[in-house]
Homo-oligomer: 353 residues x 2
DNA sequence: ATGAAAGCGCTAACAA
DNA sequence: TTGTTAGCGCTTTCAT
């Protein structure tokens, strides 16, 4: 009856006080229709009197559902949390889990293997009913395994090599294409691309958009102007320097994540070059600090919060046995033009600012 | 045997394959000493063959422990996540929960009442074994209730009116005192204080440090120069404007959170005043963007990550039945001097920069 | 060293 | 409408 000095008020105790059977109490909890109003009232009275809370663990065991969602942050813990993308997606997810009374179990993993292990563990151990996966990789083995075992999951991003699955994504190719086209329209021809780790599908997609735009303008994709950096400002600083030392020097930069722009700006300023006069810059994500940079950053705004909401709604609907159509949702982004690329061309103007 | 098309591999199935009883399998899982090496081997073989994972729910039910920690973000969801403080504290917490194989259940609440309800629910429903509470209020009823019911919890911040409890905090009074003293040493005498909501104990403490410093310099605390704002840049902008319109105008600002400084900077610049020549500014938290502001912000750096770690370690130790001494830990902070206050005084120099 | 049996707190047939 | 009964998958005495 005691644990840590806390009295365990069970359904039995309530039943005893209300002079009914435990199953009747259970039915009152579930607000079952075939219970007389007076019994309901009496049972509720007893629950209130005893301060009864249903034991979720016991309920989960018999219902075979923990009513919880799992979310794993991979990459090193350090960079995962510091990226505002994470805060935004989490905000969207938790908004929905809260509405649906789902618990959200958060975990972190140092590397991909660890992430896979933890995901599998969470779901196999029945700690969670479904998973939300972020930043899928090219040929993501974890995702393939989850799919093979028919575990419920939704991916935020694009998955390759899997016909049937639930996913929420933004229009990376299109967004990247628009961003680079913006630079091309401003007259830039040597546009460096600060990409992220090539194993992520979103990096692949943004690369594809970059290539599309260049080719549309009859330009070759010159791999010398492309670098693959970590999604933080330090690596971007280093690789930004490398790119700035190329001759002929790129006149514009397209960075796959705003966080990189911080390092890139520093690199550019250290070379005594001016933004946007000497070098134009476009970022990606429209992180909250983007408008605070000097000059304010032109960047692609993606609906991160909405993607988090959509992902959570999708997986919850799936778990509720509802049909989710279409299984893959693409949310659109917009280019937010600020001061890091110089004069605006009318065709590229957006509502913003 | 089936649920969502997923085979449930139970301890029974393993027992059958290994030709032992379920209890023996259970003992192997717990690595019980009195099991022969060969049986252990055989059982482990069977577990591997069947891909067995223990059902955490079932184990929790009998062990009366979910091996999970609960964390609630109060304030409106919008501002909670966007504050880098949250990301940092979460990083520290999850680092520790991961090490100890604890699950971390995250929840959000729109307001204080909702937060209290959710905390109580999480712990009463046995979803979590203990709670980590952030940003305690003056006479925090939730905390008093949790304490009255002897629920395990740890607070990040200072709690008043409760002799025995676990808490981790930084030296707010001292930190605030140092920050204001820095401004006083630079010659400032009219120092405005952009405080946060007065119901938080940390705001109270920082106010106290502010007063201490002023009084030490023989100055009166002038309430006209103090405002209570939300912890975001919008409100800070508005109240910053108000303070700038006072005559005589304050020559320096001390803001209780770096996020406010963003709004404050905008207000100052709109008044065509220069930082630090016309107005000096000191912030609090050393958020990641603080060094990116123009001019880079002088601010108090508090060890948020370490506080998160310490909080998680404390509550886990408590749950493990260990003695935690001292129950209240205070981590120290440092003033990081950058460019928002003008010339440095030698006595205030820190290692940074 | 291992097995049998009881039961954690709850829900859900099946009766009545 | 309500009670009885049998578990959910696991751990843990108590036997052997």
């Amino acid at each position: 009856m005691e644990k840590d000095g806390i009295k365990m008020v069970t359904i039995k105790a309530v039943a005893r006080l209300a002079k009914v059977s435990p199953s009747t109490v259970s039915r009152v909890i579930a607000d079952h229709k075939s219970i007389s109003a007076e019994t309901k009232e009496r049972v509720r009275q007893a629950m209130a009197e005893l301060g009864y809370y249903p034991n979720y663990i016991a309920r989960s065991l018999i219902k075979r559902s923990s009513h919880a969602l799992g979310l794993i942050l991979s990459r090193s813990t350090e960079s995962a949390f510091s990226n505002p993308f994470f805060a935004e997606i989490l905000r969207g997810i938790s908004k929905v889990t809260q509405e649906h009374q789902y618990a959200l179990v958060l975990s972190t993993a140092e590397n991909y293997k660890d992430e896979a292990k933890q995901c599998l563990q969470m779901i196999m151990e029945r700690r969670v009913d479904g998973l939300i996966l972020l930043a899928p990789r090219v040929n993501d083995e974890l995702i393939l395994e989850l799919a093979a075992h028919k575990h419920p999951f939704v991916v935020v991003g694009r998955v390759n090599g899997l016909p049937q699955h639930y996913a929420v994504n933004n229009d990376n190719i299109q967004a990247s294409y628009s961003a680079v086209r913006h630079l091309l329209n401003l007259g830039h021809r040597r546009i460096a691309f600060l990409n992220g780790p090539a194993e992520y599908t979103f990096c692949q997609d943004r690369y594809q958009g970059y290539c599309m735009a260049l080719r549309e303008f009859g330009l070759e994709v010159d791999e010398r102007y492309i670098r693959y950096a970590q999604l933080d400002h330090k690596d971007a600083y280093k690789l930004g320097k490398e790119l700035l030392n190329l001759r002929p020097r790129p006149t514009a930069f397209f960075a796959v994540d705003d966080l990189m722009v911080i390092g890139l700006y520093r690199a550019i300023k250290e070379e005594r070059l001016n933004i946007p006069e000497d070098v134009a810059v476009v970022g990606f994500n429209d992180d909250s600090f983007a408008h605070l940079l000097d000059p304010p950053l032109t960047t692609v705004r993606i609906p991160i919060y909405e993607m988090g909401k959509a992902a959570a709604e999708t997986i919850i609907a799936v778990l509720d046995g509802k049909k989710v159509t279409p299984p893959q949702k693409i949310l659109s982004s917009e280019l937010v033009i600020r001061g890091s690329c110089g004069a605006k061309t009318p065709s590229q103007l957006t509502a913003e600012e």
